[in-house]
């Protein structure tokens, strides 16, 4: 306390003022919009949303209903085959079965053929990561370092091509569709390409560079559960063989849930089938290779048309209808509450 003195004038030292800037930002006065939940905005948002949801819901339901779909569960229909496949030692024994069905009406337009699996956990973490994207790009990589194990190399060191659990468990039933027309059986022409994403077909999957495909896969071996090597997946079409085989690409795009459908074939609209599938009797001829009974799975084959909103799943349409109704009802409830409480809300009185 003792030797403190008040300010002695400083020697020629002009101190800059500590006065803060008077700017809108520093004074927290930035121009701003202060949204208020007014009765008008709330009610309009509810009624508009309600109307929108109801409209969309109706459209969705209508379009989903316009989809024609035939779904056949063939896991039990070929009971002898499924029994045969339960024992893995019979893997190379062929097994065929036929399933007949009748179309009462024509299915017009583009018809798509899917195979569906139930209770197949393609989304299991161990399964999802068991692939080597670098290998699928056609690169010569050391797949020992990928997540492919145990489906990476054989004991003798030969790498598997393609490696990993996904590739190994590829769906390998072949399904053909026959049209029984006046006691003659006509094979329905189906397209096996063009079923995958453009990026998958052209970017993610490439065969190794080489003069021909079998040379490119030289030094590798097929995955253990496969019946033939990758370069024999489609012997007829060079551009649908090896890693760029559409069936393979579609399989490699793992599904989100344990029940899923994968696109298998598309109807080639020529001659008799130019308008779609005519009504009549049909037969699926299935070469039954894929075992599902062990894990209590099911296999389906599906024929379906599509509309702008996709397939026949009614969920979204119904959800929209429910939400739209709820929003509209809520709008009325809010109106009622507002009308009831409005009187209380005057804090000053008009003179």
């Amino acid at each position: 306390m003792k030797n403190k003195t008040s300010v002695v004038p400083r020697e020629g030292e002009a101190q800059p003022s500590r006065c803060p800037d008077n700017s809108a930002f520093k004074q927290q006065r930035l121009p701003a919009w202060k949204p208020q939940l007014t009765i008008g905005s709330v009610l309009s948002s509810f009624f508009l949303t309600g109307a929108f949801c109801l409209t969309v819901g109706v459209c969705l339901v209508l379009s989903a209903n316009s989809v024609r779909e035939v779904q056949i569960d063939y896991s039990d229909k070929c009971s002898n085959c499924s029994k045969l496949r339960e024992n893995s030692s019979n893997w190379n024994k062929e097994c065929h079965c036929s399933i007949n069905f009748t179309l009462k009406e024509d299915i017009l337009g583009d018809v798509f053929m899917y195979y569906g699996l139930q209770n197949f956990y393609q989304n299991h973490r161990r399964y999802v990561k068991s692939r080597s994207d670098a290998q699928l790009l056609g690169r010569n990589v050391n797949i020992q370092r990928s997540y492919c194990a145990p489906f990476s190399t054989y004991r003798n060191g030969t790498p598997m091509a393609p490696c990993g659990a996904i590739a190994n468990s590829m769906f390998n039933d072949t399904i053909d569709l026959f049209y029984n027309y006046n006691s003659s059986v006509i094979q329905v022409p189906l397209l096996k390409t063009g079923n995958s994403w453009w990026t998958d077909k052209n970017v993610k999957f490439r065969n190794p560079e080489s003069s021909n495909l079998s040379a490119a896969f030289a030094g590798t071996a097929r995955p253990p559960y496969w019946q033939k090597p990758a370069y024999l997946l489609d012997e007829e079409d060079e551009r649908n063989n090896g890693y760029v085989n559409d069936d393979f690409i579609v399989w490699m795009r793992v599904s989100a849930f344990a029940t899923f459908r994968n696109l298998y074939r598309r109807l080639r609209r020529v001659r008799r089938f130019a308008e779609g599938l005519p009504a009549g009797n049909y037969t699926f001829r299935i070469s039954y290779n894929f075992p599902v009974t062990k894990f209590k799975g099911r296999k389906h084959v599906i024929l379906s048309t599509v509309v702008w909103s996709g397939g026949s799943n009614p969920f979204l349409g119904i959800a929209y209808l429910v939400s739209g109704t709820a929003a509209t009802l809520a709008g009325f409830v809010i109106t009622a509450i507002h009308l009831k409480l409005r009187k209380k809300k005057t804090y000053f009185q008009k003179q």
Binding site: K2, T5, V8, E11, Y121, H124, W197, R266, G310
Partner: protein, 1102 residues
């Protein structure tokens, strides 16, 4: 003890922490000492274990690196600055005697014992004993801004003997004194030592030491000897790193306090989330075990060649889920909280309405961690002098020999006499002080007549008994007083003709009615807050020795001569007029008595240990049998806006306690004048607390029951006494808290802190202490939040405070505006932050029911990596920085709006769990709507869109829309920055996602970017857009409804205020005080607890 021969280390200093080699390891080590960073390090290590790694290595690494990197860069920049600073400082030069001559030497080469010469405006290189200076009276002025922040000049004074003999270079070179002193320590204001030179001993104290870091001012040059160098100097002892150790400790302490109350809540929330995380993971692990038994074991396609049991797989999955769900406690939380607090602090610093132009002081947030607590204050403890009052003293009245002078004249200058320059009293230009006002003619006539020796003695005492320094510039005499009281008294004496002209170490020159005389000062018995008095012993012209003493009435009365004149209750009369009183007295001392005493005095002043206590004892011996001369009364005006501030703060339910050292009467009157007490308040006094205990009274005055406590302590049954004390303390607090206002008078600095401690302990309330002087430091440090007012009494309070500004009235803006905003912003921020991370993370849990509890994530790894950092953090950060529910003007007009912070209405356990619940519900919607839509569906072109990657994109996009729109709903103050950040975040999401999903990046890093084409494919399907729109609508519409209904049915106060303000024409009209032209009147305001102003224009803001 140390002496010169014992040379210690050099003067080089090292403040930097790292060198190029140690930077990385040390800095990382420092950072990982923080719990949050360590937690993420553990997660990172878990992720490195291949068996349990469920997320890619980069999901945690990238955010962690970002956080660590930012901190590291900041540390690096700081440290480089310190390196530079050290280099610069160590290479400064100064003149040191070598071989009999002054040689320019670098600072780092200065040794203990060197004799140095310091020039004007240079820094002092080490702790130096001042030997001589170029100024008369061996004075040396220093500025200590770097040491304690005080910008005023202080003087140091060398020993007279060294000053006289050590002016020449040769004499300095031959100087062979021996210094014995204390060990190096960090006390800036203390030094004890002894100089033995030429066979005599001289006491050394802090007045003779120039500390490192000071700057020499107004002194051409001075000489000194280095006592402590380098790391031994006081400034370095205070902190190895930064200059202000004290503030460091303070902030640490505050940090701890903060952790215990508010932040603890946050940490607890985080902890609870971690518990939830562990429980959920355990549950999911059990689920996985079960699933493996039932399904997994028979699924041939999942074969992994490892013959693990389902239980073991479940165990691994537990860790896997710990990793997957770790985003529930987001890494960016702590960083964001710090950024927001930092921003809030800057807004406080920048506030123009808390800038005090007269002294050029802006408000300053010295601690950045406490802003939101400013919005929760329940108790304010305020000092009086200098905090409520201006601490600008004016001499108003006096009482000499029983006769009172000076009329009470509140009506302005009309009835008073202005004593003009030179005035009627006598004619010397030295006595001019144009502003002096005194309202009594009679006293002046008395002085002129010169008949009353008591009156002469009275003013002589005022002119001689003080520690004021005088200096003459431009022919004008200026006084530099340590305390405003002293300045006022010396100035008063000057105006009455007793002009203090100058002082040397041993003499004081004054001009008595125009006659200049010099007196020998034999001793100065210093002032301190325990003694509450000061004395000087002078030899008068006749040769006889007299002691003059001035001090507080209580201490003086105890020491009066039994037959002395007693001013009955005069000081009480002054006190009732809110004037500060000092009693003046004198005593004649015989030569013999003085010599005996002087010996003891010298002995005590040479003592190396407990010098202060010894001195106090010696002082006590001579300050007795005093003869009372009279008393002075000094007025200290209230600061501007104090009553308004106090009434507004009490409307905000903040209880204000004034703690003052004043007498009860003064305190009570101050209470009335600042409207803390009003005419209709019942006042009860603490002396009769026991009777009051059962009755509920509105007001209370307390004398702190100290004596009773002390007596009890001494009693043998200590335990019972403790219990009794505790009970009494509790009674005191309970009783005091019943009152709307409490004034504690006669409290010492320690008791101030004790009162704060009691309220903290028994009320669990958040407290704020505000003060301006050194006596408030204890209280400021004890309270949760300390506020310092930079006033007349130096910077000590400010240095130990968390916030500082120039005037008491800024407190209302600090609390009601900044505190409230900070609280609301932080609460909004935290609630939203927990919400958004729950909404984000819990989707994995719902998904696990459909993927065999295999810890498969519902989103792409890259999305998880950047979600918290890029996609959702900026909007909420901006809300945390900018949001305003009502404007500053309104929150000042309606102090009741402050109550929500005190009651902790915005972030408590209920709110916390509600936000978690909200997040959980949102995550349910975000998962199950796409789930239903995906179940058996195809794309518009026939391809199956039900693939994992499209699903991940759909869920992620919905999430981004929902959380960003949700913050949009939460934002009540939409600036363009907010709009930009909300829409920018969504745009950034799409931009980055399309990049991550592009072909090129996949070809470059095939195994890191696997989602090639997923976003473009998914987002061109109207079906998926419809799914997203539905998800967003279901997530947000209920929130809108809930907000609106709760606003309608249970409106909060800010809802009401903003509604009236923004919607009601006439509400706005009434508030702006446009006069009677409004088309409406007030109605229904009482239910809001807002008092309707009879005249709205009085309701305006300061």
């Amino acid at each position: 003890k140390r002496d010169l021969s014992q040379k210690s280390q050099g003067n080089a200093i090292k403040t930097y922490k790292y060198n190029p080699i140690t930077f990385l390891p040390l800095n990382l080590f420092e950072q990982f000492k923080r719990a949050a960073n360590f937690y993420f390090l553990v997660l990172l290590i878990l992720q490195a274990i291949p068996e349990i790694s469920t997320l890619s290595w980069y999901t945690t690494l990238v955010p962690l690196l970002l956080v660590l990197g930012i901190t590291a860069v900041k540390d690096l920049v700081d440290d480089i600055a310190r390196h530079r600073m050290d280099n610069e400082v160590n290479n400064r030069t100064c003149d040191v005697i070598k071989d009999g001559r002054f040689v320019s030497t670098k600072w780092k080469d200065i040794k203990v014992g060197d004799v140095v010469r310091l020039k004007k405006n240079t820094f002092v290189p080490a702790d130096i004993l001042l030997l001589s200076s170029s100024e008369p009276n061996s004075l040396c002025y220093v500025e200590t801004a770097e040491l304690d922040g005080e910008t005023n000049l202080k003087f140091k004074m060398a020993l007279e003997v060294t000053h006289r003999h050590l002016q020449e270079e040769s004499a300095l070179a031959d100087f062979d004194g021996l210094v014995e002193c204390e060990e190096p320590n960090n006390r800036l204001d203390k030094f004890t030592g002894m100089l033995s030179w030429r066979d005599s001993l001289y006491p050394l104290d802090a007045d003779k030491i120039l500390l490192r870091g000071c700057k020499i001012r107004n002194t051409d040059f001075c000489h000194g000897m280095v006592i402590f160098a380098g790391a031994d100097t006081k400034i370095m002892r205070n902190s190895g790193r930064t200059r202000f150790k004290r503030t460091k400790i303070d902030s640490l302490m505050n940090y701890m306090v903060y952790t215990v109350t508010w932040g603890f809540g946050m940490a607890l929330c985080a902890l609870q989330i971690i518990v939830v995380l562990i429980l959920l993971s355990a549950g999911l692990a059990i689920g996985h075990t079960y699933w493996e038994q039932q399904i997994g074991n028979s699924s041939w396609y999942l074969y992994d060649a490892q013959d693990s049991s389902p239980a073991y797989r479940g165990f691994l999955t537990f860790w896997g889920y710990i990793i997957v769900l770790n985003t529930m406690v987001p890494i960016s939380l702590y960083v964001s909280v710090e950024v927001i607090r930092f921003g809030q602090s800057y807004f406080i610093n920048w506030d123009l309405q808390m800038y005090y132009p007269e002294k050029d002081t802006a408000a300053k947030a010295r601690t950045t961690t406490l802003n939101e607590q400013l919005g929760q204050i329940q108790y304010i403890f305020s000092d009086k002098t200098g905090t409520l009052t201006q601490n600008i003293m004016t001499f108003k009245k006096c009482c000499i020999n029983g006769q009172r002078y000076g009329k009470l004249c509140k009506g302005g200058g009309g009835g008073g006499i202005l004593i003009p320059a030179g005035g009627q009293v006598h004619t010397s230009s030295l006595s001019s002080n144009g502003k002096f006002l005194f309202y009594d003619h009679y006293l002046i006539e008395q002085i002129k007549a010169g008949k009353e020796p008591e009156i002469q003695k009275f003013f002589f005492l005022l002119a001689i008994c003080h520690t004021v320094m005088a200096d003459t510039s431009d022919g004008q005499l200026h006084y530099q007083a340590a305390s405003p009281d002293e300045g006022a008294l010396v100035t008063a004496a000057r105006n009455f003709g007793y002009v203090f002209l100058s002082r040397t170490q041993n003499t004081i020159t004054i001009s008595e009615m125009g006659v200049q005389r010099t007196y020998d000062v034999l001793a100065i018995l210093d002032f301190n807050s325990d003694r509450k008095r000061m004395s000087v012993i002078v030899r008068e012209s006749g040769g006889h020795i007299r002691l003059y003493c001035k001090g507080a009435d209580t201490v003086i009365y105890e020491r009066l001569h039994p037959i002395g004149l007693v001013l009955s209750n005069l000081s009480n009369v002054f006190a009732n007029e809110t004037l500060r009183t000092l009693c003046l007295c004198y005593r004649d001392i015989s030569q013999d008595e003085f010599e005996v005493w002087n010996k003891k005095f010298l002995e005590a002043s040479l003592a190396t240990s407990h010098r202060d206590e010894a001195l106090d004892k010696v002082y006590e011996e001579i300050e007795k049998n005093l003869i009372l001369l009279g008393a002075t009364a000094i007025e200290d005006k209230l600061q501007d806006g104090v009553p308004e501030t106090i009434s507004r703060l009490s409307k905000a339910d903040i209880k204000i306690w004034v703690l003052t050292g004043d007498k009860k009467e003064t305190a009570e009157n101050i209470g009335f004048s600042c409207e803390l007490l009003t005419e209709d308040t019942a006042i009860c006094y603490g002396e009769d607390t026991r009777q009051v205990k059962k009755k509920k009274k509105k007001k209370l005055k307390l004398k702190f029951p100290r004596t009773a406590e002390e007596k009890k302590k001494q009693s043998e049954k200590r335990r019972r006494a403790e219990a009794y004390k505790e009970q009494q303390q509790k009674n005191f607090v309970d009783l005091a808290c019943e009152c709307r206002a409490v004034i504690c008078c006669r409290v010492t600095p320690k008791q101030k802190a004790m009162v704060v401690e009691l309220v903290k302990k028994y009320k669990k309330a958040i407290t704020l202490a505000i003060g301006d002087g050194a006596n408030d430091v204890n209280m400021i440090k004890t309270a949760h939040i300390g506020v310092g007012i930079s006033g007349q009494e130096g910077m000590q309070a400010v240095m130990s405070s968390d916030y500082s500004f120039g005037q008491f009235r800024y407190l209302q803006r600090l609390l009601l505006v900044h505190g409230r905003w900070s609280y609301i912003r932080m609460c909004k921020f935290l609630r939203y932050f927990f919400y958004k991370n729950f909404a984000f993370t819990l989707v994995h849990i719902w998904y696990s029911f459909f993927n065999g509890f295999s810890a498969q994530t519902a989103y792409e790894d890259w999305f998880i990596t950047v979600y918290n950092v890029l996609y959702s953090s900026l909007p909420v950060l901006l809300v945390g920085l900018f949001d305003q529910d009502v404007s500053d003007k309104l929150s000042l007009r309606f102090p009741r709006l402050y109550v929500l912070g005190q009651r902790d209405l915005l972030f408590n356990y209920k709110k916390f769990f509600l936000s978690l619940l909200h997040g959980a519900v949102t995550s349910l919607i975000i998962f199950f709507i796409p789930y239903g839509a995906y179940l058996v569906s195809m794309g518009q072109d026939g391809e199956g869109p039900a693939d994992y990657q499209s699903f991940a994109v759909t869920a992620a996009s919905s999430l981004i829309f929902v959380v960003n729109f949700q913050i949009g709903l939460d934002t009540s103050y939409w600036t363009f920055v907010n709009a930009f950040s909300v829409f920018g975040s969504i745009a950034l999401y799409f931009g980055l996602t399309f990049d991550f999903h592009s072909a090129g990046i996949h070809v470059l890093f095939p195994s890191v970017f696997q989602f090639t084409g997923a976003a473009p494919n998914a987002l061109r399907q109207p079906y998926l857009w419809l799914t997203m729109i539905l998800t967003i609508a279901i997530c947000l519409l209920p929130v809108v409804a809930q907000r609106f209904l709760s606003m309608t049915i249970w409106p909060s106060e800010s809802d009401k205020v903003s509604e009236i303000w923004y919607l009601g024409e006439c509400g706005r009209c009434l508030f702006t005080g446009a006069g009677g032209g409004c088309p409406c009147t007030w109605q229904g305001w009482d239910e809001m607890g807002i008092k309707v102003p009879s005249n709205p224009s009085h309701f305006g803001i300061l």
